[in-house]
């Protein structure tokens, strides 16, 4: 019979082919080719990334992908980092862990970002996933060292434990003791966020001593400087190391031990920590400097000339994080010494001071843009900027993928011409065709958004504050930025029009955050009614929205697409605008 298709490729072969496809995009594309491909693909997908934990339910994920080994989940919106999302908003991981416990007993990797993780969740993880190898809790909260103890005690195959920037209740430093003596598989440990005064140092020493594959160790601030040498001598194979507090009375024995210890770490490439650093102890790392590809001094109150001297010794730097103590002069030295530099972050040492305390201006960034041809990613806090500087920077660095400029006075104009900074940022988006992430600041009119809509075709994430004059601005972005996934806006005069006119766009994005803008309650309700695949969350700590007029602006608005429908774990000050809500009140 001619009708029967000769195309009967054995499933096993297709599965083997799929095993070479790792990118999520490609897998997604393969899954919609036909029913059999969908089936085969879903059975052999091993790794899942869920950018918004409320966009899909654990049940749905498990139903479709029966055998996942690695999961990454993100919870709260990005602005939660700056205290804009009230406590209790959500992002609980427990429902995911509970369901995965039964479905994915072979789960190996859990990566969570901005989620609420309780000790109960961690205990469940420890109990359910005996093969767990990687646990990353990035900017998470809600757990204590008790939960960590459970993980340490049970996860015999754990290779990576990373608590980056998380908020941990330190109940006892003895959680480290729960790693059994037979446990030797640690490769990466980041406890830099822990505050406890008694992270049991002896337990840490023993742990480090018995794990020969340890490559990454980031200590917390409480580990004193004079203990570092001993620790390093037990782990000379380290590639990445973060010190604890880097201040102590100058003592020659401590100094020479440290110098020797660092010298013996022949593979060390990344350094961080340096809390409270004093210049006296900086030279101990000189032997490592020439190899360093990543240096994070953003917690070190070191100033010039010590700071610049240190930087000038690191010609291999690719990634540099530093406080504005580096000043323009230091950045000029960086520009001439570090030709491989790809990423630069300069943080403010005194963000709330009214007068500048250091001489760091736009000139530093211009220098780096000019001297470092591989520069791709910038986060720069400063107090003045000019359109001319931004244009120069844009022309120097057409390869920017991430550009975040934060002018501490959010509505400051070009200091030379007193004009808005529209033209400058316009140049950035025009020249940097691969720009994926952009943060704006300074005095900005609707113009800059016109440029963004016109040019920023690869832009995925845009952060806006105190900018724009009208809805036209928002409309430019929503209608022009084809690749936009995340848009976060605070304190801008954007209302309903642009939002309603571009409602369909919202379904193509992960999320939209708007706080202290002028979106009315009525518009939110309308969106909620008409767009069932969007969750429209209104946050108002003063009372339920129905006590206000339809035309009243909502305080905080968070819109995200979801195939899981509205969530039910919201605190009292968050309301979902959906059909039910609107009809209840009409």
């Amino acid at each position: 019979m001619q009708k029967k298709t000769a195309y009967s490729f054995p499933d096993e072969i297709l599965e083997h082919v799929f095993s070479f496809i790792h990118s999520g995009k490609d897998r997604n594309a393969a899954s919609v080719v036909c029913k059999s491909w969908y089936e085969i693909e879903r059975w052999c997908r091993r790794k899942i990334f869920v950018g918004n934990c409320y966009a899909v339910s654990p049940t749905m994920v498990i139903r479709r992908f029966p055998d996942i080994r690695s999961i990454e989940l993100k919870g709260k919106p990005h602005f939660a980092d700056f205290n804009l999302v009230p406590d209790g908003w959500g992002g609980y991981v427990l429902p995911w862990i509970s369901e995965m416990a039964g479905a994915y007993p072979w789960l190996e990797e859990i990566r969570l970002k901005r989620m609420v993780v309780t000790d109960e969740s961690l205990e469940l993880v420890a109990k359910s996933f005996t093969n767990l190898q990687v646990l990353v809790l990035f900017s998470c909260e809600g757990f204590s060292t008790d939960g960590l103890a459970a993980i340490a005690a049970s996860c015999k195959n754990l290779r990576e434990l990373d608590l980056r920037d998380s908020e941990v209740d330190d109940l006892s430093g003895h959680w480290l003791n729960h790693f059994p003596d037979t446990y030797t598989s640690l490769v990466s440990l980041n406890i830099s966020c822990l505050g406890s005064d008694d992270v049991s140092f002896s337990a840490l020493e023993r742990l480090v001593g018995r794990c020969p594959n340890l490559r990454r160790l980031l200590l917390n601030r409480e580990v004193p400087l004079d203990k570092i040498a001993n620790l390093l001598s037990r782990a000379p194979q380290l590639i990445e190391f973060g010190t604890g507090t880097y201040a102590a009375e100058l003592r020659s024995d401590v100094y020479s031990n440290l110098a020797e210890a660092f010298c013996n770490c022949k593979e060390l490439k990344c350094l961080s920590g340096f809390w409270d650093a004093v210049p006296a102890y900086l030279p101990v790392i000189y032997s490592v400097c020439s190899r360093l590809t990543s240096l994070n001094l953003s917690y070190a109150p070191i100033q010039n000339p010590d700071l610049t001297k240190l930087v000038s010794q690191c010609p291999s730097l690719q990634r540099m994080l530093v406080l504005d103590y580096i000043e323009d002069s230091g950045l000029e030295v960086l520009a001439s010494s570090c030709k491989d530099l790809q990423e630069l972050r300069v943080f403010p040492s005194d963000p709330f001071g009214e007068e500048p305390n250091v001489s760091l201006t736009e000139k530093g960034l211009v220098a780096v843009s000019s001297g470092c041809p591989k520069l791709q990613s910038v986060l720069y806090f400063c107090r003045q900027m000019s359109n001319a500087a931004l244009v120069t920077i844009a022309q120097n660095c057409p390869n920017f993928t991430r550009f975040r400029l934060c002018l501490l006075d959010p509505k400051i104009a070009d200091y030379r011409t007193l004009q808005p900074l529209d033209v400058g940022f316009g140049a950035i988006v025009e020249h940097c065709k691969d720009l994926r992430r952009l943060s704006l600041s300074g005095l900005l009119t609707d113009r800059v958004f016109e440029y963004i809509g016109m040019h920023a075709k690869k832009l995925e994430m845009l952060s806006v504050a105190f900018a724009g004059e009208s809805d036209l601005a928002l409309h430019h972005v929503l209608s022009g930025c084809e690749s936009l996934r995340k848009l976060e806006i605070m304190n801008c005069p954007f209302g309903d029009k642009a939002l309603l006119a571009n409602a369909a766009k919202l379904e193509t994005m992960r999320s939209l955050w708007m706080s202290s803008c002028s979106v009315s309650l009525g518009a939110c309700k309308m969106l909620g009614q008409k767009m069932p695949r969007l969750n429209i969350e209104v946050m108002d700590e003063k009372g339920p929205p129905d006590s206000r007029a339809e035309s009243d602006p909502v305080d905080k608005l968070y819109i995200y697409r979801s195939v899981a429908g509205p969530r039910f774990d919201m605190p009292p000050f968050v309301w979902t605008m959906d059909e039910d809500f609107a009809s209840e009140l009409s």
Binding site: F347, D471, D496, S515, S520, R548
Partner: protein, 288 residues
Amino acid sequence: MQGGGGGGSESGSMSTVSRDENMVVSSEDSSCPDESGLELGLGLSLGGGGGGGGRQGGGFKMHHVSKGGPYARILTAKDFPSPSSSSSSSSSSPSLSKASVTAGTKRTAESVAVAANGSSQVVGWPPIRAYRMNSMVNQAKVLTMENRKKETSMVENSTIGGYRNNGNTKMKKSTFVKVNMDGTPIGRKVDLNAHESYEKLAITLEDMFLETAPSVNPSGSTALQLDMLNRMTRRSKLLDGSSDFVLTYEDKEGDWMLVGDVPWEMFLTSVKRLRIMRKSEATGLAPR
């Protein structure tokens, strides 16, 4: 609704579901999945008269154009009022009622907290992670302590200079501390620096946790104005003893104390977190 890129032998709903799921689930932090051929055909008419307060501008439909073209923009630049040269928000949103514009401004104003020294500080600005802010704060304190301890050490020489201009007193940090209330599982965070006194802090906490007496509750801008007035003049129940709860805090030594005993500035430097405790349980704490 039609999934153009899918096709094949499966039912339309299957490809739509998997396409939807594919949008939210991916193996890496990649950009939008392939959208070509997707036509939502919403034909929505949003923003028409009736309903929402005073919105004009007629109905604007939306279609989502297929084949990878740009999303149809029924609204063009001409549909929007030309931006005025002044940057006032009221002139650019003629369709919003006056009350809401005023309220909008008020709303923005309210997100500006008043810092200890009287200058305005906006929550969320500058965009520095709380983690980093707290580290910097502790840094300033450590160094000040170091400065006091040591007479002539290298530490002092190299750091006093640095902090000369921005000593502890000028460091207007954003200190958020956790607040828990007995009987309430979900804790909150409050910015201590946004309050100038115990009274103001207590009133904020009351608003967050305790039922306040129901007011007349008018809507619109007057509600917000009344609200602000109310908050400024009201006495705190938590502090004057008339509530069933008292406000306590944990200090740096781990001891729990009643709030209000020490001067406000001293409190700021020693408080680690707050707890709204039942009066019955607060026996044994240092009496006021």
